[in-house]
Amino acid sequence: MSLDNATRDSILAAIPNLRAFAISLSGNVDRADDLVQETILRALKNIDSFEPGTNMPAWLFTILRNLFRSEYRKRKREVEDATGMYADSLKSQPEQSTKLEFEELRVALDKLPDDQREAVILVGASGFSYEEAAAICGCAVGTIKSRVNRARNRLAELMSIDDLDDLGPDRQTRAVLSVDRS
């Protein structure tokens, strides 16, 4: 294993985003940090298969995504029946990453199928292109696009953001603007 400074720095630089991705996937800060740690260990073990100069974040995201899919899903299912556990953990950790402010989104994300959740986070929050997200998830670009669309639709449904009436302030602003114009 050879860990030069540039490699170490690029891994360090990716950690905040890896954590955000892991927390978005798992909904649990501690589990997410374990997942990030495993990802780093796995990456360093296989560092020779990483081509210097290529996309380090995408490579690390791929490892994390595959780890989550293989191990963490099983664990998640074990605790899924404990309803309300997630909300309780939020209340007891006000300084933690997942804040009450985002509880509605968290709950909605949790109801998405894994493939839709990861797609909408990678494209909508991590800022990867459809092409990069497709490479990370090992599927076709068109598949990612349709997963993102389905995920957005489902989130809108679950969070009752399905028409303009639910965007109160925006709607009022628009009404004011249209009055001004007349």
Binding site: M1, S2, L3, R8, I11, L12, I15, P16, N17, R19, A20, F21, I23, S24, D33, V36, Q37, I40, L44, S97, T98, K99, F102, L105, R106, V120, I121, G124, A125, S126, K145, N149, R152, N153, L155, A156, M159, I161, D162, D163, L164, D166, L167, D170
Partner: protein, 62 residues
Amino acid sequence: MQRTKDGEFTTGAGLTREATIKIGQQLRAMYDEVVKEGVPDRFTDLLKRLDNQDRGGEGSHS
């Protein structure tokens, strides 16, 4: 469901543009909360430890 040719949802049966934007904003806001926390000590320590092992155990010799 109606879509424009580039796959974006149009008003009607699908999502409004405003709804799509709102979901995107919320996703990013939640995500950025975590990104802003930077790198917890746990991970800088981990990399330091691994680095030392790598250099012949200067941090891990008995």
